[in-house]
Symmetry: C2
Subunit: 764 residues, 2 copies
Amino acid sequence: MSSAVEPQTTPKWIGMAVKRLEDGKFITGKGSFVEDLALEGTLHVALVRSLYAHARITGIDAREALEVPGVLAVYAAADLPGLYAPGSGGRDAKVVQHPVLAQGFVRYVGQPVAAVVATSRQSAQDALQRVYVDYEALEAVCDPLEALQNAVLVHPGLGTNHALRRRTTAGDVEAAFAGAHRVVGARMVQQRVAPTAMEPRGVLAAWDKVQGSLTVWSSTQMPHEVRGSVAEALGLPENRVRAITPDVGGAFGAKINVYPEEILVAYLASRLEKPVKWVESRAESFVATVHGRAQVADLELALDAGGRILGLRGRVVADLGAYILDTTLGNAPGTILMLQGPYEIPAVDLELVSVYTHATPTGAYRGAGRPEATYYLERLVDMAAHELGLDPAELRLKNLIRGPFPYKTLTGAKYDSGAYPEALHKLLELTDYAALRAEQARARQEGRLLGIGLCTYVEITGYGWDTGAVRINPDGSAVVFTGTSPHGQGTGTGFAQIVAERLGVPLERIQIVQGDTLAIPFGMGTAGSRTLSVGGSAILNAAEKVAEKVRRIAAHLLEAAPEDVELGEGGWGVRGTDKAVSLEQVAQAAYNPRKLPPDLEPGLEGQATFNLKEANYPFGAHLALAEIDRETGQVRVLRYVALDDVGVVVNPLLVEGQQQGGVAQGLGQALYEGISYDEVGQNRSASFLEYNLPRADQMVWVEAHRGGTRSPTNPLGVKGIGEAGTIGATPTVVNAVMDALGVKHLDMPLTPEKVWRALRQGQG
Amino acid sequence: MSSAVEPQTTPKWIGMAVKRLEDGKFITGKGSFVEDLALEGTLHVALVRSLYAHARITGIDAREALEVPGVLAVYAAADLPGLYAPGSGGRDAKVVQHPVLAQGFVRYVGQPVAAVVATSRQSAQDALQRVYVDYEALEAVCDPLEALQNAVLVHPGLGTNHALRRRTTAGDVEAAFAGAHRVVGARMVQQRVAPTAMEPRGVLAAWDKVQGSLTVWSSTQMPHEVRGSVAEALGLPENRVRAITPDVGGAFGAKINVYPEEILVAYLASRLEKPVKWVESRAESFVATVHGRAQVADLELALDAGGRILGLRGRVVADLGAYILDTTLGNAPGTILMLQGPYEIPAVDLELVSVYTHATPTGAYRGAGRPEATYYLERLVDMAAHELGLDPAELRLKNLIRGPFPYKTLTGAKYDSGAYPEALHKLLELTDYAALRAEQARARQEGRLLGIGLCTYVEITGYGWDTGAVRINPDGSAVVFTGTSPHGQGTGTGFAQIVAERLGVPLERIQIVQGDTLAIPFGMGTAGSRTLSVGGSAILNAAEKVAEKVRRIAAHLLEAAPEDVELGEGGWGVRGTDKAVSLEQVAQAAYNPRKLPPDLEPGLEGQATFNLKEANYPFGAHLALAEIDRETGQVRVLRYVALDDVGVVVNPLLVEGQQQGGVAQGLGQALYEGISYDEVGQNRSASFLEYNLPRADQMVWVEAHRGGTRSPTNPLGVKGIGEAGTIGATPTVVNAVMDALGVKHLDMPLTPEKVWRALRQGQG
């Protein structure tokens, strides 16, 4: 285990519940989002979007639109050079190019067909109605199981809807199932959901015609990716593209992708040599921003008589939608990777098929493949407990992995560290599980439908590498640069704590710089719960470099040996004496070559990159107590307890914020949310009237607890917390409702109608 | 001598006359200066300035001003906390604080007394007339020799006008003068001149009330100095102040200082929590921006019969004006430092007295002390040649230092490298000096007043340390960061050439970032002709760090040893083979840890600081051929030849630009320019009607030549060129005119009237 952050003394800042330094501006409405940016002479883009899930475009008539006052131009695909949005293809995937405006055919409702450019957003919007697109409607396929049949092809050129097929087998699955005492299985649907960040997407691009360079402000999770994709699409070197993320109002994975609109707006800015802006409306967001989840799994679990899991087999069908964005293909392989969960499973046979459909592309959404895996497995485990007459906690305890770590799974994961049974035991203790079950029994006798849901999970966080820099100004104040690009998480506060801890800079004298490809050497942005373990470790390493120089300068000023100098209460002092200098004094000397040791360069800045060689694996155990209203079928979660172990906790307030928010989002999927398409591929849920995002009074305050099993993968010893709550909550809540209903399985969302119907069926 | 830039092959970019990459935007009027910046809701400041050189303020009545529509507030000193402009004091100098608004007394015409804040600049300007300041006029002293008497005190609290007194003696001066064959001497006045950059000063400050931070855009040479001074004056940590220099339209040293207006505007922005802007008018610039030169010297040179210099003695009185800004005190000591010039002088006794006067503060102006020294010495040498009946070239050749280098002068300089006689010989050869003298003789016979002026000079350039960074993006394009902050010199082009040379990046794929305290770790800005030798060396060292990493990555990709990899025509290849990879391939690998050697951090950026331990000393020889119109006294420079040796030349076009412009500015002082005060301290030359800035048709095209005596002080082998032309031109032109007139000495500017009167006197 790395010991880079092992403190010389008790940690002062790491572990402290510091309030978010970021909150002031947001609470007072002073955030600055793409929508708030105003450049003189900005032109506005509105997009004509497909009304059909599948159609041939037979004509586009923009003449009336061009007469709308303020409208300058209307562009269709034919007016542009071949402009495509980026998309990650796997080595074995069938991928088509993704045009920024539809070429000849439309393949989902909402696909951009034409772009209206006007001097005001209102003019551009008004003109949309006057762009007449003639369509010849074609048969559409939006259901992934139907798409699997290849009766209707989304991309005829590929000859199949199957973009990706993989099979993962290990152990003797045949034998496991042949010799099983019980086999439980079900078809389980992970419905499409919409990420619905508070701030929809938006992009503003300004072309500097003298320099031949472009600045792109985007509501993105990945400014360096925007820079690279825009540069590539427009044929510019990357030094002529600067991407900036102003404040970003949430993203949940959906803003990892670089979308057609970003490429289009950047192109139009360079073509028209004017600032060009597009901000997504809420209605557009429901059809044009990726959807999450969207899988159908047929899975079976084999168990012996004692409740030991013998094997897992089956198929996951992933619905990709019509095109491949950066995160579209990656989710379902992540589901397979994590399907062993925290359990000993000696044999697996898992098939994955990812299919195109005539629907909005899917992509990463909080958890991105892992919530699906956890949901399937935790549902199967509960079904098995029911079949075997075992308590769900007991069945889990029989099967949880006990190490040693690192632990390699049959599905390809390598768990870095864990304490799975301990986590469940702790949860049971925290909730007084036995008493809870007794309370449930009493309630049932009173006719109340109370259910208890459990979940134990392990998930994967962190990837790639990132940069960090710490600069101490001449007056001792600090600026911290990070390649990560948070969108509301408050990670800057955690970064400031790390720097305060290592260097003794007061928090209020630390400024965080993020989201600007000019100010920051490189960054992979914020995704996959990577920010602290990758970005934070880079900052820690940068701070260590600064600390080493501070130590040498302080030693020089104090006429001591560097190895005797340490950071203490009185500043940087000589161990065992009261001789010390302040960081301010060190900084002054650092900028004055006459005061420096002769072998040191002036200045006081450290830069580092941190490459996370192995992912880390948070884990935990959740419990929900839910009650069903017999009259209405409405589910109410009465209590929710989350024990999440994400290793070292830098700031418990920030972590708890993610626990609360994560559980809320999982609960939303379990009970309320879902995108659905009708038989011709119309999105039936493209507004908040139809799409039921949970309100505050539908949520439960999470009793949030944390473990502390250090990760060996990074010097901070941390794992990611951004997605754990969502991963744990969905099966926990569904398990509680099934427990209350006494029903094997219902697909999400567990709407009152669905629950009420199940109740009626159950009662005969 | 350092050999860091010794090329593996013939240099490709260093030495090439690349056209300025910066020119496009300026030529097309697309520069963005402080005046061009528009922030919503900006408030504008106009300043009530003192009408008196010296007075007591007995009352300020702003009631009428506050009634002008748009006026929000009027502030005088009493309304502000104690706000002071920064100013560098020497260890032995008497310095008073410099209030941003006059406190009780005014001490020069133009001193800010009150600030009007309004919603438009027009309103603020209109209201100026309605702020009634009652003054009780007091006696003023604007002449430095009068100020020397201390009869009228500028700062009574100091008890003297003498801010600084120093004496520099070495060798046996008494004996030198006692044994001299001839002593020549004169009182020589270096008149006050106005730097008159095309863009006057300007500052815009915006306060972010949520973050409690300030952004200051200033037309400055030193953004980091602005940051530090504003932070200190406002009591903010430096991480809460960001200073940005947009395009800056010239400065000539005058924008090194952080002025009262910068502190005031920053303060008002923080107090009013609004953007606040002030842009100097041309009229203000003549009274509120520092003046240059402003010295009176009484100096004598002792010579033996053969024309060898035996000693130099006398006194320089420097006129500081009323307050000490950052550069006010430093000029005159620089004059003393450089008074030995390029000559062997065995004994010196030099006194310096810097005095306060009731005049605009003086400060650095192109050359900053060195033009004065060179002027005095070169005038004395010409006087001596005249007295001894020697040709001025001959006298110089008898006395020029022939080494060895480094050569320590009696005045404290340490010349790094030089070839002074060689430079003069070369000049004489280039101009065919003998033929020129013959032509002069013929012309005189024809009644034409032709004069030949010579000058040999050495000057001092470069100081301090600075930062540089070179970042290679994933696509191989580059961004170069410099702590220097040019204001029109085009140094970015030179920096790009250095990076192109070392790394093989095409020029058009290099972007230069400067003038932003956020993007750049630290910088000392641009002053003292330091940019290339200090900033350029930092960039070279940063590029070397990148090159080292490139070499290792290329070796890894090519399966070769790093020491066998070099930059060649085909990219980074294995010496002696045709195996090579492009920088793009290296960059792609650098950002992909899987392609990197395991011991290398991902990313491709190098940062370096360069500390110039010893200054460097450019030198040269100039010649002017001038003709006087007998009827009008008008001087016309017919020919000007400059041989400037500034070591290695990175870009001859850039260097020649500085030679042309520098000579123009020296010629301006010699013939046209001058600020003068009347007997009550009114500035009589505060507009371009009175202040005679030379026009294009008054200039001569300089025949510009360059030496190549490498400097050992930095790895590029360069010296500064920013000031050499100005240093050489003033004495060269005056010597030519005196030669034409046959007069010992006239003070500058050599206006037609002055020359005409001298002609009349000469003709008796």
